[in-house]
């Protein structure tokens, strides 16, 4: 399988600390790749660099076979979107408008109605799947944490991306919502979307992801299927050791 995303030699320093240190890995097209590691190992920084929110000090990103200089708008248009650990929604817009505004319409559609019939049908179908149809017309600022998390994910899918970066999809939500998340990651994956998932909930990751990338001190130490990662002594040392 080809790599849809590839990072080569990414380095990012904050003061004297290297959040990413010559980090290199690839994400195969059609995979659900997990990115795990103890706090401060560089997972979120890697996300921020890949999605264009943080400029790296060195290294490069290749997406869909092309070398890119990531910038959020550019990555979105190229087919890569992300969610945030603390879900970020547009509070004054309704939940429905939150999904529609993320459809990435071309610039010349700016003066068409906020929610066209076609937008509404697609967005409502998506929200129905996520169990959000009941709150579609509420301002997103009124939704609960779990609902916002689902809303941010649904909105990310609205632009029909090739790849989605999920930042801790199950963090801080009820088991029921986590299950909905998992189901949707799987069904989108079956529809052809590639995922890169940062997650601390290990049982969630082990069920969902293959392969896993284990980060420590700004670079991957092991890349492989869950069984291999679980058996690796280095992982036990750095990752689980850090927990004790």
């Amino acid at each position: 399988m080809n790599n849809l995303l590839e990072v080569v030699g990414l380095t990012k320093r904050y003061g004297g600390i290297a959040a990413l240190d010559d980090c290199r890995f690839g994400v195969a097209e059609g995979s659900i790749t997990g990115l795990i590691g103890p706090n401060g190992s560089g997972k979120t920084t890697a996300f921020n660099v890949i999605s264009g929110y943080v400029r790296p000090d060195a290294g490069s990103v290749r997406f869909a076979g092309r070398k890119v200089r990531p910038e959020p708008a550019k990555m979105c248009r190229a087919g890569l979107v992300r969610t945030f650990q603390h879900p970020r929604v547009f509070g004054t817009l309704t939940a429905l408008e939150n999904v529609v505004v993320a459809a990435a319409p071309p610039w010349w559609a700016t003066l068409t109605p906020r929610v066209r019939r076609r937008d509404r049908d697609r967005a409502l179908a998506l929200m129905e799947e996520f169990g959000l149809a009941g709150v579609a017309h509420q301002p997103a600022g009124q939704l609960s944490h779990g609902q916002r998390k689902l809303l941010a994910f649904a909105a990310a899918l609205m632009s029909e991306p090739r790849m989605v970066l999920l930042d801790e999809p199950s963090a801080g939500v009820s088991p029921a919502v986590a299950e909905v998340m998992e189901r949707h990651i799987k069904s989108s994956h079956a529809a052809g979307v590639t995922f890169l998932v940062v997650e601390h909930n290990l049982s969630f990751v082990m069920r969902l992801c293959d392969p896993l990338i284990v980060m420590a001190r700004g670079r991957p130490i092991v890349i492989g299927p869950p069984a291999v990662v679980q058996a690796d002594p280095g992982v036990l040392d750095t990752y689980l050791g850090a927990w004790r």
Binding site: Y53, R55, C76, H86, G91, R114, H137, G141, S159
Partner: protein, 342 residues
Amino acid sequence: MSARGGALRRARSGGLWAGFFAALLALPVVLNAHWLLNIAVFTLMFAVLATAWNLVGGYAGYPSLGHGALFGIGAYAEALLFAGRDVGAGYGPFLAAAPIGVAVALAALPVAWIAMRTRAEVFAIVTITLLFITQALAFNLRGLTGGAQGIALPVPPFAERTFEWPYYYALLALLAVALGAAFAVDRTKLGSALLAIRADEDKARGVGVHVTFVKLLAFGLSAAFTAAAGAIWAYYVSFVYPQFAIDPFIAIAMVLMTYLGGRATLWGPVLGAFLLAPAQQLLAYQFGSSRLYLVAYAAVFLVVILALPRGIVPTLAAARQPGPAYHVSVDRVRARRERIGS
């Protein structure tokens, strides 16, 4: 949300619009004193200015304090076009307001493009700096602006008894167009994109909102109406000089009126202008040129911030529709705290 409820709401809002403009059309006939018509002219002007400011300061969440400069440039453009000319029946200078608005908007876009790379407080400071730079230029480019002496405009041959009427109706027409534009912004993807930017610009960028394009579009629209109002104002007062035409007070007034009525609402800025502009004019009549009314303005600002942080229209809407309050401010704090890389 039933289709019938939608139709009813549309009919009601259509009735509101029609009633509002019908009342304003008839007003000059009722107000037969010059001083009252003078207040009405300024009220309409500030309604246009607040409606225009709301597009940038309300919908996009970019608190511009530099709109006074756009107003002043519009005023100077009108003065330079017509100073020492014969204006015939006197209606040409009204028509000139439209091309002046478009030209000022186009000229302002490169500046806005740079200024809008900053946000929030920094943007406010950058834009107020632009205001004072413009004022300094008006003082010092004597060959063009006449410096501190200013420029006189021709006085048109309007009948004495109805002298204010043409200005009043010109501004009413401008208000209708500005409100129409604001309505269009509110109902289209431009409006939802601007509100998304206001809530969380970084996130908006990442979901494919054309951030720079819609910000500049909103600024251009806003600048056009602001400058056009400045042009009509210059013709009305028939004299421009730097500290009068490029006045921080005008820049603050449109902000305050929008805040009072309600940011990012259609009627909020108009309501704010209709409350504050007459009050300010009356206070100015009472206390002459002592500018004591500025103290009253500061008091209004404090009351708005303490008692009505979201403005009158959103507060009333929330009171009519029970439910949890919007968590907008919480969202913004969270977004700021989380802003990546800083």
